[in-house]
């Protein structure tokens, strides 16, 4: 058994595409130069960088100069959120209780700096409460931030409706989107949704780790956060990796060449997985939205009566990598906050399994996973006092 032989944890990081490795190669050895100087090496790098910016920009309907390369999604989120807040100096921010930790930890930091933050509730599908959004908007609200595709249950937030509500406020409210899970999994045109800033990353779409980008709509003022030598602009200070940027651009080309086909393939795989799971394993349920309401790569289920860390450990012994929302598998020993916020109980959270697929997964792989998981569920249920109590109740 090889670790990660069947890998279904692509929302965390995904395998680098072979074409991406080829695209990066020359920029490590022959064309490693930094942009910025007017001699041929610097110019060559300038041209390459501009080309890569355009490729990434095109995938979200933006312009090249609106793209800043960062070390990943987290830096992009920080540059946007802290940049907008520091430029505003004071006021009110809105996000939701089911947002990605990047947004929630930034919200907590903003509160410490004296900003006020409102946290919207979410429904049982992890979709934010739009009526509450309308009620929470104040004259000093300057930023609304959201996670376009929920990182746990894959639900898609209604960005168009959100923008309409923000526009109805009568003053400018910036819309920042964390698109870590959405990028390459749905159409995400920044003009269609009126997005002002957005964070994306390469390694979730088969690009290299360590590279992401911040989209900054022209005219959106961001206070400078990282001070240092200026290579490209005030948001991209310090060194940069032209090779990783080249890899990112190639990964974008591969995913977006035919985005509908990419989405269709992922949707077919996830529908197949959910159907097979229901067929083979009793007493399970889908967490989050069904059908078009969820991102095409995410299947999150709760398996009744057993605990997720034990399940993932056993799957791991078979070379299968998946994630769980169990407290026992988390660093903080807490049940998953998104599942708890959408009304799941502790047992549903502890017994939750998250499968996130990529275009490299096959139906044969999914068959193997479901077969192994069915065996493991049977074995762990045999050992479980909860399942034994359930059987006893059924006999009555």
């Amino acid at each position: 058994m090889k670790p990660g032989q069947i890998y279904l944890d692509n929302c965390v990081s995904s395998a680098v595409a072979p074409e991406v490795i080829d695209a990066m190669q020359p920029y490590f050895s022959q064309k490693f130069w930094f942009p910025g100087s007017f001699i041929s090496t610097g110019e060559s790098s300038n041209d390459a960088l501009t080309g890569f910016q355009s490729i990434v920009a095109k995938s979200i309907g933006a312009r090249g100069e609106e793209i800043h390369f960062t070390s990943g999604g987290t830096l992009a989120n920080n540059l946007a959120i802290k940049g907008i807040a520091n430029a505003a100096k004071k006021g009110h921010v809105i996000c939701s209780v089911v947002d990605y930790p990047d947004l929630l930890t930034n919200a907590a930091w903003l509160e410490k700096q004296g900003f006020e933050v409102s946290y919207l509730a979410a429904d049982d599908k992890a979709v934010i409460d739009l009526d509450q959004l309308k009620r929470e908007i104040r004259p000093d609200t300057f930023l609304f931030m959201t996670t376009a595709v929920n990182h746990v249950v894959g639900s898609i937030q209604p960005l168009s409706e959100i923008r309409k509500i923000l526009d109805a406020a009568g003053h400018k409210i910036y819309l920042h989107v964390d698109a870590g899970q959405a990028f390459g999994k749905m159409h995400l045109n920044v003009d269609d949704f009126g997005i002002d800033t957005m964070a994306i990353s390469a390694h979730k779409i088969h690009g290299p780790q360590g590279i992401g980008a911040l989209y900054q709509r022209k005219g959106t003022k961001l206070a400078q956060l990282i001070h240092g030598v200026k290579r490209v602009d005030n948001l991209q200070t310090g060194g940069l990796s032209i090779a990783l940027i080249a890899g990112f651009a190639k990964a974008v080309e591969l995913s977006f060449e035919d985005l509908d086909a990419t989405i269709g393939q992922l949707r077919e795989l996830s529908d197949y997985l959910w159907a097979r799971l229901q067929e083979k394993i009793p007493y399970i349920e889908l967490n989050g939205a069904e059908g078009e309401g969820r991102a095409p790569h995410n299947v999150n289920i709760s398996i009744d009566y057993i605990e997720g860390e034990a399940i993932t450990m056993m799957l791991d012994m078979h070379g299968i990598t998946v994630a769980t929302g169990s407290a026992c598998a988390s660093q903080g020993l807490k049940a998953n906050y998104v599942l708890m916020a959408i009304g799941k109980n502790h047992v549903q959270s502890h017994g939750s399994m998250k499968f996130t697929l990529s275009r490299y997964n096959t139906k044969e792989e999914l068959d193997t996973v479901v077969d192994r998981l069915a065996e493991i569920t049977l074995e762990l249920r045999k050992r479980s006092p909860l399942y034994n109590a359930f059987l006893k109740n059924q006999e009555k």
């Binding site: 169990s326 047992v347 050992r383």
Partner: protein, 207 residues
């Protein structure tokens, strides 16, 4: 891999697992909301006071299942007096250790074994139902593991004060504001003490 080979062996192929028909004593500890629950069944030779058979059920993680398995190995064939001396430390040692954040899982299985023995003794008139006192609280606090280091909070001198009067438990803990395990330890304390009918209110204070 953070788990020892022994933990993995007992997790994948646990000993003495399964429900026992007509046990002489049984106990269930933990709760699904905390993510783990263990049931222990005992068959006791009344004349010799020896645990002739033992089995368990476990809802929990790998460490929980492995600890329950090793606890049953340690207790099987022992006299009740010997088995009463088995602690979570014995279970952990027998498993070649556990990652610090997982040590708390070993407490539950050891605890359930002790409760099963106690239930047997009470049912057979070998002892009376113990009175609830400050000592009971201290014994419970010795089962609360500080996940950062995998030691109990009493040994780590984190308990500054314990008070009990009129059903109210008051505990002062030496845990700083920046300690991210505060909530976790507090929840564990409440879980351990709220099962006693004598306890009406629990107050846990930090500096």
């Amino acid at each position: 891999m953070q788990y020892s080979q022994k933990v993995l062996d007992h997790f994948m192929h646990p000993h003495n697992v399964g429900k026992m028909e007509n046990p002489d004593a049984t106990a269930t500890e933990g709760s699904p909301s905390c993510g783990d629950q263990v049931t222990v069944y005992l068959k006791v030779n009344e004349e010799k006071q020896i645990i002739e058979d033992i089995s368990f059920l476990s809802y929990g993680c790998a460490s929980n299942i492995a600890t329950a398995s090793i606890i049953t190995d340690l207790a099987k064939g022992k006299s009740l007096e010997e088995a009463k001396k088995i602690t979570w430390r014995d279970a952990m040692d027998a498993l070649d250790g556990l990652p610090p954040v997982k040590v708390h899982c070993s407490v539950l299985a050891a605890d359930t074994l002790q409760t099963a023995i106690s239930n047997y003794e009470i049912a057979h008139g070998l002892k009376e139902v113990p009175d609830f006192s400050k000592e009971t609280i201290l014994e419970e606090l010795k089962k609360i593991i500080y996940p950062q280091v995998g030691e109990d909070i009493v040994s780590l001198k984190m308990v500054k004060y314990v008070g009990f009067s009129d059903g109210e438990v008051l505990i002062d803990l030496n845990m700083m504001a920046f300690d991210s395990w505060r909530d976790n330890v507090k929840e564990e304390i409440i879980e351990h003490l709220e099962k006693y009918p004598e306890v009406k209110k629990i107050e846990v204070n930090f500096p």
